[in-house]
């Protein structure tokens, strides 16, 4: 079943854009030869809303996220983003320079492995400042000020601004990656297993931080994870994927507390209790 249950919940961001979705996805399909990456996925994401995508490994979560973020070219479908200056536009039909500009201003992508999202060879400050410099910031003092500010916001000791990320712990690297992505004030964040590979106490702290940032900045986000606790904490709505298809979607609490589809029931009952 793919019937939509529940409507957008919270308000946030620009009130004039409240009456239309930030992101509209229609019939998104990606095939790897005869196999299906993801098939006929469609949803709407409203300003200030967090959408969770769960499913087991190989269910097409990451492929879907890659297609949304423009890293992978899908075979069919449309991804319509409500741009700041020109209204809703099909991202897949955009020319490359525009899409790149979007990717470093209004969008952010948090990788599962911080090594994929960070530049390990340059200092933490330069990592945070890179997006600013990419969009034309040319004042060293201001770039450094922004880097300091953002390191403080993600709870990294500001004194480590000139250290390389390779000298950071896994949790700090992940928080640095988040700072680096949010420094340009994006409106839409894609997260691929943001807590993967971290131990539980670090996970809890990161989730707390993410929740604060998402709520505080009124961000919209698409969070891919296999960890149901993460979506319970972060997301307003939930999509369950199996074999590249969406099998169930609705409000997070509704889906998790009263799963309708057999696979969702299996998923929810598979969570280990302590």
């Amino acid at each position: 079943m793919t019937a939509r249950r529940g409507a957008p919940a919270r308000a946030g961001g620009d009130p004039s854009a409240q009456d239309r979705p930030l992101l509209t996805v229609e019939g998104l399909t990606k095939r790897y030869g005869a196999r299906i990456g993801c098939a006929d996925v469609g949803f709407m994401l409203w300003p200030g809303e967090v959408m969770g995508i769960v499913g087991e490994s190989g269910s097409g979560k990451s492929t879907l996220l890659g297609c949304l973020a423009g890293h992978i070219a899908p075979d069919a479908g449309r991804v319509i983003f409500d741009t700041r200056d020109r209204g809703p536009r099909d991202v897949l039909a955009m020319p490359e320079p525009e899409r790149r500009m979007l990717a470093r201003t209004d969008w952010a992508f948090v990788h599962q492995n911080p090594r994929d999202g960070l530049r390990m060879g340059v200092s933490a400050g330069a990592n945070v400042g890179e997006r600013l410099m990419a969009v034309g910031a040319r004042h060293y003092g201001q770039i450094r000020g922004a880097a300091r500010d953002w390191m403080a916001r993600v709870e990294i000791d500001v004194g480590r601004i000139d250290d390389r990320p390779s000298a950071f712990s896994g949790g700090m690297q992940q928080r640095l990656q988040i700072a680096r992505n949010l420094v340009t004030g994006p409106r839409l964040v894609f997260m691929d297993e943001p807590t993967g590979g971290l131990d539980v106490s670090v996970q809890a702290r990161l989730l707390d931080l993410l929740r604060g940032l998402v709520r505080g900045m009124g961000l919209s986000a698409v969070v891919v994870t296999h960890d149901l606790a993460v979506v319970r904490l972060l997301s307003d709505r939930l999509m369950v994927m199996q074999g590249g298809r969406v099998v169930e979607q609705g409000l997070t609490d509704q889906v998790l507390d009263d799963p309708q589809h057999g696979y969702t029931q299996l998923l929810v009952s598979s969570v280990l209790q302590v």
């Binding site: 490359e96 320079p97 340059v122 400042g129 890179e130 410099m133 040319r138 060293y140 003092g141």
Partner: protein, 295 residues
Amino acid sequence: MSEPKGPAERGKIVTEPEPISYNFAYLDEETKRMIRRALLKALAIPGYQVPFASREMPMPYGWGTGGVQVTAACLVPEDVLKVIDQGADDTTNAVSIRAFFARTAGVRTTTRTAEATIIQTRHRVPETPLREGQILVFQVPIPEPLRFLEPRETETRRMHALQDYGLMHVKLYEDIARHGEIATSYAYPVKVEGRYVMDPSPIPKFDNPKLSMCPAIQLFGAGREARIYALPPWTRVESLDFEDHPFTPSKADQACALCGAADSYLDEVITDDAGGRMFVCSDTDHCAGRRGEAS
């Protein structure tokens, strides 16, 4: 051995081997046409790296194979050639390339910047201002300014195409964060006519301002990397910097020990093993000219 010869005749046979005939300026005409096509394209798109079919030259890579091919493609018999290596006319690289063209092209050579019509240079721009009609040929080891930041050629090409140059400033940011100032002192990246970011070859950043609005044609050849790029006359060339850390063309804070010039780029020469040193003009022609005028 039919009949014995006199000593003079025998000596002649030994010292003068069969003369080898090369085409004018060593390269064949088709190769020169190919290089000229690349040069014209490079001049049409200032700062853009044009791939060309770089040839094997009779010298090792790193000795100026790119510059030599560009010079060979530009030379005409009426040209007067000057070759400098780090500013000097009398170092190995300069002497051998000058001898190479004196032999294969038979062109007149000079050490005077003002007299030369083509100047091939390794890592310096002459102090004497260039004029219209002159060609300055740079030897380039690594033409890609983004190479040490992004190792993939496919990606650097895309970055140039999309003007995605944020990474270049990340490097300058790192310099300031680590050293308190932009510590890059040579091969200092420039932006050409507000479009392409270009590596000016490893010239000291002292020479960067001379590239901008230069009346002469400036050609850059990288033999191993098979790339040619160019600055047409009167092209705007800006060195990248930050608003609060502006570009400064730095040099040793001394005057030349030989000619007393305070405004030329200086080489530091170690004179003994007790810390003795002197600073002299890197541009030998400029220095000699000044001393000639002074005496």
